[in-house]
């Protein structure tokens, strides 16, 4: 009703096309790049804060971390670039190694679960975990973060290596609720069996990958200069 009659369409010249596309492209590029530049510092800051708060949750003693990775021969090196599932060595305020923080992922009930967990060199045990990402059924699957008796598993979940230090001495497994008999067993959650099982197998898998190298190399590991504060 209130739209005016369509104006006479003038044929668009090539120049107009170029002008508009290049113009808009330039405008967009300018905007994106400036926003990226303007926010990148804060984003990096945010990320670091997020990571350190997560690490603090699983390994409170840590004051600084360094990201590490395994090279082709399986020995510990400083990470060259940000990994999808990074692992960190954690140092206390004196710069002494207190533990490692490992990100691990595995299939849960509905989708991947990503967890961050901490390993204490002193206890040779897993001492904390935090679920970073999960699509588990709320109310059931998220019990692995809330259920006290499940969290009690992480006072010291035995993750000792075997004698030659190549593998875990005892595989970490989840058992039925109330049937935990050994230190390397996870006391499961009735009603969230799959999720608690998944946590067990994720820990087991990631530990088998990281722990031999960590135990062997971490103590002698020379952190590169730039230790994140």
């Amino acid at each position: 009703m209130n739209t005016p009659a369509p104006p006479q369409q003038k044929p668009t010249t090539v120049w107009q096309m170029y002008r508009s596309i290049v113009g808009i492209g330039a405008f967009c590029a300018l905007l994106i790049v400036s926003v990226y530049q303007g926010t990148s510092a804060r984003i990096a800051d945010n990320r670091a804060r997020f990571l350190s708060s997560a690490i603090e949750e699983v390994l409170p003693a840590v004051r600084s971390t360094v990201e590490v990775s395994l090279d082709e021969s399986g020995s510990l090196v400083a990470a060259a670039e940000a990994a999808d599932l990074p692992a960190y060595l954690g140092y206390d305020e004196n710069g002494d190694l207190v533990g490692a923080v490992i990100t691990a992922r595995g299939m849960g009930y509905a989708d991947n679960i990503t967890v961050l967990y901490s390993y204490s060199f002193e206890l040779q045990a897993i001492v904390g975990h935090k679920v970073l990402e999960s699509k588990e059924t709320p109310g059931l699957g998220d019990k692995v973060e809330l259920e006290p008796h499940f969290l009690a598993n992480f006072e010291a979940l035995d993750a000792r290596l075997n004698e030659d230090g190549t593998a875990l001495a005892n595989a970490i497994v989840t058992v039925k609720e109330g049937e935990k008999t050994e230190a390397w067993q996870l006391d499961g959650i009735t009603g969230a069996t799959i999720t608690s099982d998944a946590i067990g197998s994720i820990l087991n898998q990631a530990s088998s990958y990281w722990l031999p190298a960590l135990e062997r190399d971490a103590r002698d590991f020379q952190p590169p200069q730039s230790i994140e504060e």
């Binding site: 967009c28 994106i32 790049v33 926003v35 990226y36 999808d84 599932l85 691990a104 992922r105 595995g106 299939m107 009930y109 509905a110 989708d111 699509k135 059924t137 799959i194 898998q205 990631a206 990958y209």
Partner: protein, 193 residues
């Protein structure tokens, strides 16, 4: 560490985390064309096709973007490249196979800038899938989309003939059916392990 197998990727995308019923992606065409079975089937074909194109494009662009270290260009380049690739394919299709174009063509403009397609591109990048994995993922997503669409169409065709209360006609009915289907799909949880 543990790379998911192809079968697991497929099942996850198709059933467990169905694009429509679990991620709400592609809801607009889902409600728009699910009223009749025939259009639903043809739409599914078109979506499968575009998803494959988009998956391939996204994989390629991501390689380039990582090479030049410009993640901030991801959104704009994905959307531009995917929509132009689909248009190119559309033109090719019109030239090479007019019958296919006739069957699928009218749906192509509808889905070039569709959240299911774009979401697929983003998710496969976020999950860090390789090329074959990305293709399997696209196939799974398309199969899931088609399944949801076709199931929906059957129920809605039946609903068309029912004495549905007037406030329930149209999208409200479609939403409820989608909700019930979504509950049904919860049964598949845990399959893609």
């Amino acid at each position: 560490m543990n790379e998911p197998g192809y079968w697991s990727i497929f099942l996850n995308a198709a059933l467990v985390n169905n694009f429509v019923l679990a991620y709400f992606l592609g809801i607009c065409p889902f409600f728009g064309v699910s009223a009749k079975l025939e259009t639903a089937v043809r739409m599914s074909g078109a979506v499968t096709f575009v998803m494959l194109v988009a998956s391939t494009c996204a994989f390629g662009i991501n390689l380039i973007l990582e090479a030049i270290n410009a993640p901030y260009l991801r959104i704009i380049s994905y959307i531009l490249v995917i929509s132009s690739a689909v248009q190119l394919v559309e033109m090719l299709l019109r030239k090479l196979s007019p019958p296919t174009f006739k069957a699928l063509g009218i749906f192509l403009p509808l889905i070039t800038t569709n959240c299911a397609i774009f979401g697929l591109a983003l998710f496969q990048t976020n999950k860090g899938y390789g090329f074959t994995q990305a293709i399997v993922y696209a196939l799974g997503a398309a199969a899931g989309f088609a399944l949801a669409l076709v199931l929906m169409a059957g129920v809605r065709e039946k609903l068309d003939l029912a004495d549905v209360p007037s406030i329930f006609k149209g999208t409200a009915a479609a939403l409820v059916v989608a909700g019930i289907l979504s509950m049904g799909f919860m049964g598949f949880a845990g399959l893609g392990r």
